[in-house]
């Protein structure tokens, strides 16, 4: 009989639910108390101040419903980018926006802000030809035609767009001309320029999120699985929606691209809800691989076979899933060398109740999940998006920043546990493989609460540190100025390809300083659907000189010894250190 003693029966039944229903019960987390015993190091850390308003980043980034979200297309929000579109040596800002289901409110559009070199920006969106009010999602930056000016590729729910930089402050939508139009609606998300076949031309990988047709899409409902959360009707998915195909386009060198998804094997790699795509040489074999953070499905690591094809090996290489084979809600990706062993590690942001994952690379693309020993497990309060492994205080150890924000604004009214706006997360690298979470001591901009998505990392004021621009849904962006503590040194490296692609995307740079070795790579997309300042920034601590090794994407290695700290180093492939763009 189902009811013996009711208590025993229900307990027994519920006691069988833990692994099925609760992913993180399987996660070998660190003790929260243990984490709290980690005190911030005595040395002061950076403080972040949101200067968006005074800097002129004042336009609200309209994106879907504010209090209620009907469809999943409304919630992802967009990425953002630090890039120098006019080659003046100062990082400009591009932020993706959206619309509303019911229409396009005034002020909606993606935004290009020109850096006035005085701490302020000017909105040049319309002048630059970038005004557009669609469901924009991701951005990647790269000089696909090798003309010396960075171009933009944007993903959309709808039609993705390729904008060619005309070199005169304007852009032209060349999507059709480039052969990148498609006949049906796709939900583009991640995208990255990279040179998969080492021909010196930037090819393009595009991940898609879900298959959804708004005319027939399910709406929030308590009756439909995956259309509710904790008993509250919410937007549906991604689970329960079909997974899409991902695409690879080969650059033909004449301004056009050819869809090689099928030939490369990528078309067959279906079953994942793709988000951020990061191309880098994971196994250090000189060929570009691709890591794709995937939501609620296994993340993908596409290993380059050197013959135009890829094999998907995330599972066996340890970056597909969480502990216990749990499907994680993969959103953003940070890449960097947290343990200073010269190899590119991965950081992946996840859904709430799932910690941000840190995966240590042994240089052969064999990753170990070090989330727990690194002290990241206890922080799983919020849905996490834009992220980076970056050295904010220039002490020589990459730290972690995470932008957070809900996808269910409806929940806050019912449960305090799920706020509609949430703070930023900052972990300081303690130099021993462990991180400690910082709060107010890192400045008011860290504890400020928003519904954030993409974040881009770069030095907008050219003062030798890493600032952060963040896309906030239905708010103006945040611009977190990094007020770095004095005393530490730094080095920025800007690369220009000659045989390699002009943007030098895919290059790996190793800097040796004070007995430490740190690797970084130059990517077209990172964080959450965003693009970072292409000038690689290395904090050097107290050290004033460093050696620099550059691994160009075509396979050539160059070494530069005894480089002085506190400067922007411009290296042109095959020509050494050259005079670069203005810095200060």
């Amino acid at each position: 009989m189902p009811h013996g003693k009711p208590g025993n029966w229900t307990r027994r039944r519920v006691l069988h639910t833990i692994p099925a229903a609760f992913a993180s019960s399987l996660i070998p987390c660190q003790l929260r108390s243990l984490v709290s015993q980690d005190k911030p190091a005595a040395a002061p850390f950076s403080r972040f101040v949101d200067v968006a308003e005074s800097a002129g980043l004042t336009k609200t980034m309209v994106y879907g419903g504010t209090d209620h979200i009907t469809y999943i297309v409304e919630l992802n929000g967009g990425g953002c980018a630090f890039f120098d579109y006019d080659n003046d040596g100062w990082m400009d800002i591009f932020i993706l926006g959206g619309r509303r289901l019911e229409g396009i409110p005034p002020g909606s559009s993606n935004r290009l802000y020109h850096n006035n070199r005085d701490g302020t920006f000017t909105d040049v969106t319309e002048k630059a030809g970038l005004f557009d009010c669609g469901w924009a999602c991701g951005v990647c930056v790269g000089d696909y035609n090798n003309d010396g000016f960075e171009d933009l590729f944007l993903t959309y729910y709808g039609q993705n767009r390729l904008y060619r930089n005309n070199g005169d402050g304007t852009f032209t939508d060349v999507t059709r001309k480039a052969g990148l139009l498609y006949p049906t609606t796709r939900f583009g998300s991640g995208a990255t320029f990279f040179d998969y076949n080492r021909d010196g031309l930037l090819d393009l990988f595009v991940s898609n999120y879900v298959v959804i047709d708004l005319a027939n899409a399910p709406k929030p409902s308590l009756d439909v699985p995956n259309c509710n959360y904790e008993g509250v009707a919410t937007n549906c998915g991604p689970t329960g929606l079909p997974a899409p195909q991902h695409f690879l386009y080969r650059n033909n060198g004449d301004g056009t691209f050819t869809d090689v998804s099928k030939q490369s094997g990528i078309a067959a790699m279906q079953g994942s809800y793709g988000f951020t795509a990061v191309a880098f040489d994971a196994d250090e074999d000189g060929w570009q691989d691709i890591y794709v953070a995937c939501d609620a499905t296994p993340s993908m690591l596409l290993m380059n076979n050197h013959d135009g094809t890829f094999r998907e090996e995330a599972l066996v290489r340890g970056v597909a899933l969480g502990p216990g084979g749990i499907l994680m809600g993969g959103m953003g990706v940070g890449q960097g060398d947290y343990d200073l062993d010269g190899h590119i590690d991965l950081l992946k942001t996840h859904f709430q109740n799932q910690p941000t994952g840190l995966y240590r690379n042994n240089g052969k693309a064999e990753f170990e999940d070090v989330t727990a020993p690194a002290g990241l497990s206890a922080e799983r309060r919020f849905i996490s998006w834009g992220t980076a492994l970056a050295d904010f205080d220039n002490d020589g150890y990459p730290d972690i920043f995470i932008a957070t924000g809900t996808v269910y604004p409806e929940l806050e009214r019912v449960y305090a546990k799920y706020p509609a706006h949430s703070p930023r997360i900052l972990f300081r690298n303690q130099g021993n493989g462990r991180f400690v979470e910082l709060g107010d001591e890192a400045g008011p901009a860290i504890s400020a609460k928003h519904q954030s998505r993409g974040a881009a990392f770069g030095d907008f004021d050219n003062d030798g540190d890493i600032d952060i621009v963040i896309m906030n849904r239905n708010e103006p962006p945040s611009l977190l100025r990094n007020d770095v503590p004095p005393g530490n040194h730094w080095l920025k490296v800007r690369l220009e390809g000659t045989k390699s692609n002009r943007s030098a995307l895919g290059s790996r740079v190793i800097v040796h300083y004070g007995g430490k070795t740190q690797a970084q790579c130059l990517t077209s997309q990172s964080s959450f659907l965003s693009s970072n300042d292409p000038r690689l920034h290395f904090g050097l601590g107290k050290v004033t000189t460093a050696d620099v090794d550059v691994y160009w994407p075509t396979g050539v290695k160059e070494i530069f010894k005894g480089v002085a700290a506190d400067q922007l180093l411009t290296i042109r492939e095959g020509q050494g250190i050259v005079e670069g763009r203005p810095f200060r």
């Binding site: 009811h3 208590g7 229903a21």
Partner: protein, 537 residues
């Protein structure tokens, strides 16, 4: 057993009796004198009642047997004999007098209830069901009969019958729990929650209903609601260990470690040997990275309940993280052998195998893991499409519903219920040919799918193919003997073929299951009047 004691409790309470027991069959002096002077059936019955009132059921049985010698055709004495045999746990012996009592007075409720109870105790569920249903025919509002019948149906997983029997919101805690169980068993946990909520509105202090509601909310991953209610339950009953463990479980599921850890420690202090307390402490320690402590708790939990596969799994996690890959492997193997079906078990097993150098086996397990994940994803997608389709169907758009069912079938083609649901949508859309095709696929996948056979029979009947109709209806009732509608359809078909005797038998079967079935009653009447035909379905 619960039913028996509840029922016997009811009887005792009705008689207003309570007594202390004695093992010697010695009635009080006045009754002894009465037996000597007036050795009638009434006197022996009076003595029997005295024994019963003093919990001397064996003695009562003897007294009633003596009474029956003097009045063998007394339905009441037979009933009282049966009652006391039951109280004395002589279930086998109780059957005959109760049956005899029923033969003499078939419309009296109580002997049916006792006979059903005795039959349940003897694990003769099918026979018991007949008695429960007859009892309900006599008194459709009898709580004991309703609960007996619903539990009988629940035991055979005939959830639809329970839902039909108990209606939208039965009275009383027990019946509410049964209805919730039926909805839960039928896969409608949300309906179960509704029933429990309404039950709690009517009976706010019911711990059993609250308990059940917390469990159902947790199963639906509505952890915040479950935790809120669980907390209330614990506050209401601070000494109820079950309630505290349930609350702890919800806190563990909802990742509220700040609340879970102190409660887990507190429960450990007061219930060190409770399986649930040990298990949840083990899970929490594992989650906190204290694998040695986790192992300690989980080893104790496994010793208490060696058949709990998740406990083996979590113990395996402890061991794997303590670098005991061989031990972990063994625990994962035990979990799998016990029926663990979560892909995570296979995933961790594969990892342990890889660590031990068993690469080939590890690869095989990883492949199985991927297959299981794929199957799970397919099921999820299909469930989502199916739920959307259900909604479209209830909103009156069968064509859109059919499209969505087909989308679901594209990922889960071998799901018989989906084929059946598609057939329903097609039926409403008027596409009979496609409906038949969907039904045929459904029964190909699940030959015992009674509702599909019944609908195929209906289609055959409508097209005048009575032989096929009869065959399908017979298949339906063979697969589900409690399927009233199928019996009625069979009866109607047989009546149409002028096989009235067989038709009457079929109607009788339907009415045994559901004495109030309107179509069956109507058909029975028409058969009696000699006017039964196809329209009576």
């Amino acid at each position: 057993m619960r039913r028996l004691y509840i029922y016997l409790g009811v009887m005792i309470a009705t008689c207003g009796l309570c007594a202390a027991g004695s093992s010697v069959c010695t009635p009080p002096q006045n009754l002894q004198t009465k037996l000597q002077t007036q050795p009638t059936a009434d006197s022996y019955a009076e003595v029997g009642m005295w024994y019963a009132n003093h919990d001397q059921y064996g003695c009562a049985v003897g007294a009633y047997r003596a009474a029956l010698k003097r009045e063998p055709k007394s339905a009441e004495l037979l009933y009282l004999l049966g009652l006391n045999l039951l109280r004395n746990r002589d279930f086998n012996d109780a059957i005959k007098p109760l049956q005899q009592s029923i033969e003499l007075e078939p419309k009296v409720l109580k002997p049916h209830l006792l006979l059903a109870t005795a039959l349940e105790e003897l694990h003769r569920g099918a026979d018991a069901r007949v008695e429960w249903l007859v009892a309900l025919k006599i008194d459709p509002h009898s709580d004991v009969a309703l609960e007996g019948a619903s539990k009988n149906f629940l035991a055979t997983r005939n959830f639809e019958a329970v839902i039909g029997l108990l209606g939208p919101q039965p009275k009383g805690e027990g019946l509410t729990l049964d209805l919730a169980s039926a909805y839960q068993g039928a896969g409608s946990t949300d309906q179960a929650i509704e029933v429990l909520r309404k039950g709690l509105d009517a009976n706010p202090s019911s711990r059993a209903l609250t308990h059940e509601l917390v469990a159902n909310l947790a199963l639906l991953q509505r952890y915040q609601e479950a935790a809120r209610l669980g907390k209330k339950l614990v506050e209401q009953s601070p000494k109820d260990l079950d309630a505290q463990v349930l609350y702890l479980h919800v806190l563990v599921l909802s990742d509220d470690e700040d609340l879970a850890r102190p409660l887990a420690h507190k429960l450990l202090a007061i219930a060190r040997h409770d399986f649930g307390v040990l298990y949840l402490n083990g899970v929490l320690e594992n989650r906190a990275g204290n694998f040695a402590a986790g192992r300690k708790f989980l080893e104790q939990a496994v010793a208490l309940n060696p058949n709990h596969y998740n406990c083996h799994y979590d113990l395996g996690i402890s061991l794997a993280n303590l670098n005991d890959s061989q031990g972990a492997k063994e625990q994962f193997e035990k979990a799998l052998a016990l029926g663990a079906s979560e892909p995570s078990v296979r995933f961790e097993y594969a990892k342990a195998l890889r660590t031990l150098g068993e690469t080939k086996l590890s690869d095989e397990q990883l492949k199985l893991y991927q297959q299981e994940q794929k199957a799970k994803a397919d099921r999820t997608l299909a469930a989502s499409k199916m739920a959307q389709a259900d909604k479209e169907l209830s909103d009156g758009d069968p064509k859109k519903a059919a499209e969505l069912y087909r989308d679901a079938l594209a990922v889960l083609p071998d799901y018989a219920m989906l084929q059946y649901k598609l057939s329903v949508a097609l039926d409403r859309a008027g596409d009979t040919a496609s409906e038949r095709e969907a039904l045929q696929k459904a029964v190909q996948i699940d030959p015992a799918m009674a509702i599909a056979h019944r609908q195929l029979g209906y289609l055959a009947f409508n097209s005048g193919d009575f032989a096929t109709a009869e065959e399908e209806f017979r298949t339906a009732v063979r697969a589900a003997p409690g399927f009233t509608d199928a019996w009625v359809s069979l009866a109607a078909t047989l009546a149409t073929e002028s096989r009235h005797r067989e038709a009457e038998e079929a109607v009788q079967r339907a009415l045994e299951i559901d004495p109030h079935h309107a179509n069956a009653l109507e058909l029975q009447k028409e058969l009696a009047d000699g006017v039964a035909g196809p329209s009576n379905q």
